[in-house]
């Protein structure tokens, strides 16, 4: 007996019992659908977090002052005054440093900012023109701080979209208008493009001014609060970290790296932590989805077992007419695989639609994982075989007399 004929027999019996077939398929549809939706959701979240972190700057290293260890006590990060403009200049010009593309000395502090009618408390950050390159900041309207602004200590400011909204209202483009920072008047020359982010990661609630203006006119300091470094590529990040660390140790006259009065963070460190967190999240979701898939599989087995009992007479008849054991097994296995296969295909469609809706609802990127689809496909076929085997075997082992007598 050819397989194509067994297949058409199986399709026939499944079509004859539409409700039973539909219910069995539904279990698999829900199982596969939730696997795809949840894996896609997990991966979308992971990608969203990664994009967010990468938007802070690609291949970014940050040198922060302080954080040296005194015994077991770690000094408060950022409170120290040991990093200077000269350190930044040395990193940029040292012949020993081969892996750094751009150096961005920065001084930032939260302060009160006001216009004629409204005011807000925000981050004011003194930067050079290279900040935009290092941190991938793009100006939507107007210009960024340039070298002449820094040299001439201009009172100009580039503001984030959040600040523009807070001070001038939704949708405004206040280029050319003025704001007062600690009582001094600044002219707005540009507004940055939104980067998103919330809390301390909020890159939109920020005001950029020339570094020299921030240090000398606004806050009266002669140090920087951090130095942003852009490495030439992600491959040389560890080397860049070593080179800069060594140079700064020498400049600050320390022999032991453990004594250092600065610390260097790599973008990669943050990315790794975030990835492992979201990866765990994805695994958790997949685990939950796998349980529903298992339940769907047991549902198939249950339906197939009921089918075997219900069709005892039919099986007996088929055997009386000459069906061999193998033929009966293949027929029942084919039926259960067809059930799970149909369920798998429908489940993939449902899963993709569901992940689209979820992505829209939680504002995550819509992303369908091909791995998840492939996996769902294989798993659904495997469920058909695994959970179909026992009922098929049971059917094939029925004695024809017993089966024919069965009422």
């Amino acid at each position: 007996m050819e397989y194509a004929e067994i297949l058409s027999e199986a399709v026939g019996t499944l079509r004859v019992n539409k409700i039973r077939t539909g219910l069995a398929v539904l279990g698999i549809v829900i199982g596969i659908g939730s696997v795809i939706a949840l894996i896609s959701l997990g991966q979308a979240t992971q990608q969203a977090v990664q994009t967010q972190i990468q938007s802070l700057g690609a291949n970014l290293l940050t040198v922060n002052p302080g954080a040296q260890r005194t015994g077991a006590v770690r000094g408060a990060g950022g409170g120290n005054t040991t990093l200077t403009n000269e350190d930044a200049a040395a990193i940029a010009s040292s012949p020993q440093i081969t892996t750094i593309k751009n150096v961005s000395p920065e001084f930032s502090r939260r302060t009160q900012v006001a216009t004629g009618k409204s005011n807000t408390n925000t981050q004011v950050i003194g930067v050079t023109s290279l900040y935009a390159d290092v941190h991938k900041t793009v100006v939507a309207t107007g210009n960024f701080i340039n070298d002449r602004d820094v040299e001439s200590m201009s009172k100009v400011a580039v503001i984030g979209p959040q600040v523009a909204t807070d001070l001038f209202g939704e949708g405004s483009t206040p280029v050319g208008q003025t704001i007062r920072i600690t009582g001094q008047t600044f002219t707005i020359i540009g507004i940055t493009q939104s980067k998103g982010g919330t809390g301390f990661l909020n890159q939109d609630d920020i005001i950029f001014v020339p570094l020299s203006t921030a240090q000398k006119q606004l806050f009266g300091v002669n140090y920087v609060s951090s130095i942003g470094l852009e490495a030439k590529s992600s491959d040389v990040m560890p080397q860049a970290q070593n080179e800069v660390g060594y140079l700064l140790l020498t400049r600050h006259k320390f022999n032991d790296p453990a004594q250092a009065d600065f610390s260097i963070f790599s973008q990669q460190d943050i990315l790794d932590t975030a990835s492992s967190t979201t990866g765990m999240f994805t695994s958790l979701l997949s685990g939950i989805a796998a349980i529903s898939l298992l339940v769907g599989g047991i549902g198939i087995m249950n339906i197939m077992l009921v089918t075997v009992t219900e069709r005892t007479r039919e099986i007996g008849l088929r055997k009386a007419l000459g069906a061999k054991k193998k033929v009966i097994i293949i027929q029942f296995l084919t039926e259960s695989i067809l059930l799970t296969f149909t369920g798998g295909v429908l489940g993939i469609i449902v899963g993709v639609i569901a992940s689209f809706i979820i992505a829209r609802a939680v504002n995550a990127p819509f992303l369908v994982s091909p791995t998840a689809i492939l996996l769902a496909f294989i798993v659904s076929a495997a469920i058909g075989i695994v959970f179909g085997w026992y009922p098929a075997h049971k059917a094939a082992s029925l004695q024809p007399i017993e089966a024919l007598r069965y009422e």
Binding site: M1, E9, G12, R318, L321, G322, A323, K324
Partner: protein, 221 residues
């Protein structure tokens, strides 16, 4: 020429508490082309005998030779093969596949025999026409009457040209007018040279046969 040779067969059902002797040292022969009725009250062992003759079951002791083949110590699959090629079953309750067309029902044994599709269609059509159901080819089994269902079963039994037709109370579930139609078909088949073995407990049905084997308490009487 003997198409069936049964010698000294017994069938004993054993449970823990007791032994039941269903058939006790039964011997007989049936020649090719005979129309034989096996009669007996319920509990006489006629169902057991029919299971053995139909290769659905094996005797506890004794030999059974069907059309030159010794049906003994065979595996389930070998028995299935014998049933497929040598025996055409006609059951009391028709046993058609539910919600399936008459054509598909008749094609089923050919499917298991590996007959090519073209031939299956032609032969099924031919045999359905022969039993007078040429206009019911695409009706499903629950859309036709009991008598018509039994005629589909007869077409199904004949379609692989078996050595014997084995009918178990073929008229037990149908109205008497239709029962006469079925017996007319049997008589016609007998005239064409088919070997028919019919199990029944109705004397007027058994009267259509040319020979009657009476069974009582597991023995031929």
């Amino acid at each position: 020429m003997n198409i069936i040779s049964v010698s000294h067969i017994s069938k004993i059902y054993k449970t823990e508490a007791m032994e039941t002797v269903a058939l006790n040292d039964v011997s007989f022969e049936i020649k090719k082309g005979e129309f034989v009725a096996i009669m007996g009250p319920s509990g006489s062992g006629k169902s057991t005998l029919m299971h053995i003759l139909g290769a659905l079951d094996l005797p506890s002791t004794g030999a059974y030779v069907l059309d030159g083949e010794n049906v003994e110590n065979l595996t389930d699959d070998e028995l299935a093969d014998i049933r497929n090629r040598k025996i055409g079953f006609i059951f009391q309750s028709f046993n058609l596949l539910p919600r399936t067309t008459t054509m598909k029902n008749v094609m089923l044994p050919m499917l298991y025999a590996g007959v090519p599709k073209e031939q299956r269609l032609n032969r099924a059509k031919k045999y359905l026409e022969m039993v007078g159901l040429g206009d019911r080819l695409e009706h499903t089994s629950n859309q036709i009457s009991g008598g018509q269902q039994q005629r589909v079963a007869i077409a199904r039994a004949l379609v692989l040209n078996p050595s014997i037709l084995l009918a178990d109370e073929p008229t037990g579930n149908i109205a008497s007018v239709q029962a006469e139609e079925i017996m007319a078909i049997f008589t016609k088949l007998h005239r064409q040279g088919h070997t028919i073995i019919m199990i029944t407990h109705e004397p007027d049905i058994a009267a259509h046969a040319k020979r009657i084997i009476h069974l009582k308490d597991g023995k031929i009487s």
